[in-house]
Amino acid sequence: MKRVAAAALVLFVWATPAQAFTKQGGVRTMADGTSLAYDLYEPAGSAPAGGWPGVVALHGLGGSKDDVASVAEVFVSHGYAVLAYSARGSGTSTGDVELAGPKEVSDEAALEQWFAGLPDVSDTNVGAWGISYGGGEVWNGLAAGVPYKAAEVVATWTDLYSALWPQDVARSGVVAGLVGAVAGRSPLVSANAANAIRSLDPAALRALAAPRSAYAHLPRITTPVYMFQGRIDWTFDVGQALNGFTRVAGPRKLYIGRFGHSPATFPGPDAGYVADQSVAWFDHWLKGEPNGIDTAPPLTIAAATGAGRTSFAGLPPTRALRLSLHGTGVRRTTAVLQRPLETFGTSTIQVRVRSLAHYPRLVATVLAGGTPVTHGAIVPRAGRQTIRLANYVVYVAKGSRLSVAFGPSSAPPDLSYLGFGDRGSISLGTAELALHVLSKPVTHTRGSK
């Protein structure tokens, strides 16, 4: 019960090849006196001319450098020096968590400079790898001009506001999980907890999120970035990575896989592929190896089951299905699906709100046979309303019937939008689901065609 949702602390475990390396711990003191604990990994033997290419590894919220040890060991075993450090307010580091804000970015810049200045580490060929909160730090570091030569971000955000407070409604379950993970070490989070969980003051939340989001700076980022995002990740949806994929100026690659925050896990069943791709990306951009990763199709989506993957030259082709929702109650169903579908893109629900009283949020949860497909929420007003739904890649088998549950919270077992025990009422009229799906599903099951 210490954390509401497994949304924050992410322990990324990769199988590590057994190759010799050294690991040395230490502490670096930042300009404001904050002490950051670090582990420095170096391959055994003499460094090549110009030093080892380097990777800065950044952990998730509520975690520490120890959580990325297995990632560091993979890179060091492939000939990289790795610096893993506990961000301020994390692990044994001092200071306060400020949600990948300017102070964390300043730390990142200072540590990258120190790392690149080590005698055995390359001055110029240093990349960054970050997961979740660490991924946000990497994006924000790139936006601030930290001179990484290549970057990899896993299950993270580019626009914090749209990730956590889409349409001005907090994903209260997710935000509560994040708050619970770090409130004790973050006066900033504690001070903003009630507003963040209940989205009481959207303007203040936007002001908090803006300097912690790389979105506005993406078109200026020329560093090669490999984005790894989960198919179904209720904390950071696929749209967060698509922002990066469609907006950065430099080389980019996106893998949408089977890992992530709740309801997915870290690592996923495709951890081996993710590790191989991670190493290959840095091998190309930091070591200059012509391994072809830069010319391969830039976007790959893993199938929902099995080891299948489908790659695309750009954004995958999609189509919009317009599905009538039968009934006028709070739970409605579509007709039986005549063929399988796989969601991709921002779907919407149009719903007419006839009347309401003390109903601060209207949450729509789309389910297929009791399994959440997507969700979204609005601050309801009378009249026709549009609810934008989160972008997850969910396979729905032929013969399924989709249902939409409306309410003050997401429908079980979806914990993204938790309620507050409000006692209001709402009357809804007609509703229509516009579901964006892949033109051709990437998941193939027996009888799915």
Binding site: K2, S172, G177, L200, S409, A411, P412, F420, G421
Partner: protein
């Protein structure tokens, strides 16, 4: 400027709503369901604005059997909701299992603090997103006076205070205040004999913000089970002869047609008295032909399947989350007038009584007259 003032006021109201410093009331509810011979399903509800509960004791009527399962036995499903004060009052939906457990030093300490001498220790083992919480539920033997009052066992739950300052030893995790819980216990078996069974419960809240139980505010809440609950349907057929004009070889002629008129009437009874509320739907085949009473004609059919469904005493639910699901324990609130203060409790106010609801279905085949 007006808009800004309104927004500020709304923020202030919302902030007060979860500040948890002043509770207006303490009016818990007890709900008990289950089918004769089966396991009891017990629900409790506390208002979000009520003072936090320190202790509740549920008195099991003597007619119910309370078994002593071995530690490690899973007894049934649990759903619960709790408002997390540390997380802006967000309501956490908790799910899990009721288990019989061996006493531990932790459960023994809670029992001692709470003044319970457990005959058995059960645990409401619940979780949300993989984070678990174990709430001990003690089974305690009844005293001679309690037995004389008709009770065979007591189920006691003591909860930690949620609204004391963070860091206070023994404070509820996340400042969570229990709002509702529903659990099934296969160790509590309903009697097979018909009867009106009245469960009762005593509830003591905390003095807000102190962590001290407020014995002076102890209240009683009851649940009435009228067993068995039955759906009965009677039908009556009538042979009706009508005529129909048909064209044969270019000529019109009248032919005799036999039609079956079917009348039906259904009712839900609880221990042979009508349920407080019931909504009945009757279908012949797939077609809705009426509610509790009605009639329809069978034309050109040899038989039809009459399906009667009844939803009774289900105008309220014990919350298992913010969104209702069909699995939630339904009840009808009988209110304070139906709460009969237990003399044993010597003047403790009896605030509420409920009766559990549910859904029943009956299917019968009606044959048509052939000729």
């Amino acid at each position: 400027m007006k808009k800004k003032t309104a927004a500020a006021a709304a923020t202030a109201v919302a902030a007060l709503a979860f500040a948890g410093s002043a509770y207006a009331s303490f009016a818990p509810k007890l709900v008990v369901g289950g089918t004769p011979g089966g396991a009891a399903r017990i629900g409790v509800v506390v208002g979000n604005g009520d003072a936090p509960t320190a202790r509740t004791t549920i008195y099991v009527p003597s007619a119910f059997t309370v078994a002593a399962p071995a530690p490690g036995t899973a007894l049934g499903a649990v759903t619960a909701t709790a408002a997390a004060g540390d997380l802006a009052g967000v309501v956490l939906p908790l799910t899990g299992e009721l288990e019989a457990v061996a006493p531990t030093s932790t459960t023994a300490a809670i029992a001692q603090t709470c003044g319970v001498a457990p005959a058995q220790t059960w645990s409401l083992h619940v979780s949300v997103s993989g984070q678990t919480l174990d709430i001990p539920l003690f089974v305690e033997a009844t005293t001679a006076a309690e037995q004389a009052a008709g009770f065979g066992a007591k189920l006691v739950v003591c909860l930690p205070p949620p609204d004391v300052p963070a860091g206070t030893p023994g404070r509820a995790v996340l400042g969570a205040k229990l709002l509702s819980a529903t659990f099934t216990s296969s160790a509590v078996a309903l009697p097979a004999a018909p009867g009106d069974y009245r469960w009762t419960s005593l509830w003591t809240p905390y003095v807000p913000g102190t962590g001290q139980p407020d014995a002076a505010v102890t209240v009683e809440a009851q649940a009435l089970q009228r067993l068995p609950v039955k759906l009965t349907t009677v039908t009556a057929r009538k042979r009706v002869v009508a005529s129909r004009t048909v064209r044969s070889a270019g000529k019109k002629r009248k032919v005799k047609v036999v039609v079956t008129a079917v009348g039906f009437a259904s009712a839900v009874t609880e221990n042979a008295t009508h349920a407080a509320t019931a909504t009945i739907t009757t279908r012949a085949g797939k077609k809705r032909v009426g509610a509790a009473k009605g009639s329809f004609l069978m034309v050109g059919l040899k038989s039809t399947r009459l399906t009667v469904t009844a939803v009774y005493d289900s105008d309220s639910f014990v919350p298992a989350g913010a969104v209702r699901t069909p699995a939630d324990l339904a009840f009808h609130d009988l209110g304070a007038p139906a709460c009969r203060a237990t003399a044993l409790f010597q003047g403790v106010p009896c605030l509420d009584a409920t009766t559990a609801g549910g859904r029943l279905a009956d299917t019968l085949v009606v044959k048509a007259y052939a000729r």
